[in-house]
């Protein structure tokens, strides 16, 4: 008698979201099974791995985190270029730290011009993240949406307090958004329902927020996993958005990542791989070596 392993088939898909436009575009999501379960269903797109670029010179980064970028760290265009040409990044994530109202508090118009310069210099899709400050982000991201009209950026984080303004601008100018609700599937669903009243679900990526290894990573794992289960098993169409995870910022603020180069890289790679196993579709990473490690693991 031969044994046949039972297979779990799901009649629904996680939505496929397109990042970027024209020849630059790439897709994430679209799967009808759990991560790496290619024996059970279809996984049409590899997970997206973005390298992070800051719009200001990094402050207080570990030497080994800065080392790969130290010659380009003062200019986001050069930094972006290096990430793509030298480190093989297929997606970039521009973090608008200059706009922090508690810091430099840069003006939205000025910031939008910087973003435009980066977009024009690139041949890969771009994620643009504000600082998570509802009022300021909404001003900045609306301006970015306008300045980069038609470029299909992924803008975020879009929160309960500013989703209407940002999503409206994203819709008008053809961008996708990252909808962020902290560590709670119920709140993720609530925000998606609110957004989908006027915003296309196939242009939403969800961010349940992330914690690094040793700092609550298990919670992030559970929440990503449950979002995917609600979407695929329970067929909840408000929970079928690809999942985004901002690993870079969380990992590199840990004591452990700042203790040694090897430890830092492994901290980031381990946290990343864990989230991919939970079902994350798009990650933001900082260190090129961590990117290389993850790429190698998922392509084998």
């Amino acid at each position: 008698m031969t044994y046949e392993a039972p297979l779990e088939k799901h009649p629904v898909n996680i939505r496929e979201v397109v990042l970027g436009e024209g020849e630059k575009a790439r897709k994430i999501g679209g799967e009808n099974t759990f991560p790496f379960h290619s024996f059970e269903g279809s996984l049409p797109n590899l997970q997206g791995l973005a390298l992070e670029v800051l719009d200001i010179h990094p402050q207080n980064w570990a030497t080994w985190a800065l080392e790969p970028f130290k010659d380009v760290a003062s200019d986001p265009v050069d930094w972006a270029k290096k990430c793509v040409e030298e480190y093989g990044a297929e997606i970039l994530c521009l973090r608008l730290l200059s706009t922090d109202p508690m810091g430099m508090d840069a003006a939205p118009e000025e910031t939008a011009k910087t973003v435009r310069k980066v977009v024009d210099s690139l041949n890969v899709p771009l994620i643009v993240l504000g600082t998570g400050t509802e009022d300021k982000d909404s001003k900045v991201l609306i301006e970015v949406a306008r300045e980069c009209s038609g470029k299909n950026l992924l803008l975020g984080p879009v929160l309960k307090g500013n989703y209407q303004e940002i999503a409206k601008a994203a819709l008008e100018h053809g961008h996708a958004i990252v909808a962020q609700a902290a560590m709670d599937a119920n709140l993720t669903k609530e925000l998606n329902i609110a957004l989908c009243k006027f915003f296309p679900p196939e242009k939403i990526v969800v961010d349940p927020t992330s914690s690094a290894l040793g700092y609550g990573m298990e919670y992030t794992f559970s929440i990503i996993e449950s979002i995917k289960q609600f979407g695929l098993v329970d067929k909840d169409n408000m929970m079928q958005m690809p999942v985004f995870s901002d690993v870079a910022a969380e990992c590199w603020r840990t004591k452990e990542a700042r203790e040694s180069e090897e430890q830092g890289i492994l901290w980031e790679a381990t946290t990343s791989m864990t989230f991919l196993l939970a079902g994350a579709n798009l990650l933001v990473l900082r260190h090129p070596t961590a990117l290389r490690l993850i790429k190698k693991m998922i392509s084998s």
Binding site: N186, K189, E190, D236, M238, M239
Partner: protein, 292 residues
Amino acid sequence: MILIGEDLNVMSDKISQAIKERNPEPIRECVEGQAKNGMDYLDLNVGPQKKDPAKTMAWLVKTVQEYTDLPLCLDTTNPIAMEEGLKISNKKALVNSASGAKESMETVMPLCKKYSADLVLSVINDAGLPSDADERAASILESLEVANQMGIENENIWIDPVLLPVGVDQRQVLSYMEFIQMIPDLAPGAKCVCGVSNLSYSAPKGLRGLLNRTFLVIISRYGQDAGIVSGFDDELIKLNRGEMPEIVELIHRAMDEEDMDISGLPSKEQEYVKTTQVLMGKTLYSNSWLEI
């Protein structure tokens, strides 16, 4: 179901102030209102009462008893206030509550025995709140044994399985339902009671009643004996009295049927069905569950 009106509660500013000022008028209004609406018991929630617990409870019980003959459910964690209330209750009171935590059993159970009161006994124990139906069963069996040995029979015990808000942990709502169906086997003769309004804590204010009412119908079908509810929710009271049989039937159908076509239903009926589907764990809860 036996309904216990929850509105005499120090969490309400009006009631809290009335107690502080020893002003009987707001108390009268609240008591008579709930009694008129058909509550079977009145819950007197005086909180922990750090200051003057005995005097406060005594005043409140006396005042309430001037306006109603209904039996009282004395709701305080302060044993001095509890004893004072028991001393002067005209009818057999319900003590709310003891848990299975050692200290709680040792202070509260003897009071019940001494004053021949009924006891609300929760499934919480020294380890906290049990996480599923089986753990709830194990915990309550242990506490029941202690109560029985002390001479408090099952017939005088109202088990509180502890209801968590659906917005906090939807699975706990399901294990609640599973557990109440086990009670007749676990504790023959005992009743089952819970704070129904706790279900909707953290839900949008205007929608809390809908969650509470739907849940009342669901657990009533599963054998729930009593609920602590708002004494001013007219629709809940009507549902409980069997005056809205078509809604009850609709909720039962939504409990049983996998996919229900609700497109032809009026909006109120649709809301009851959607709410049932959320409470039965068929769809993931969110605060905007009615909007999809």
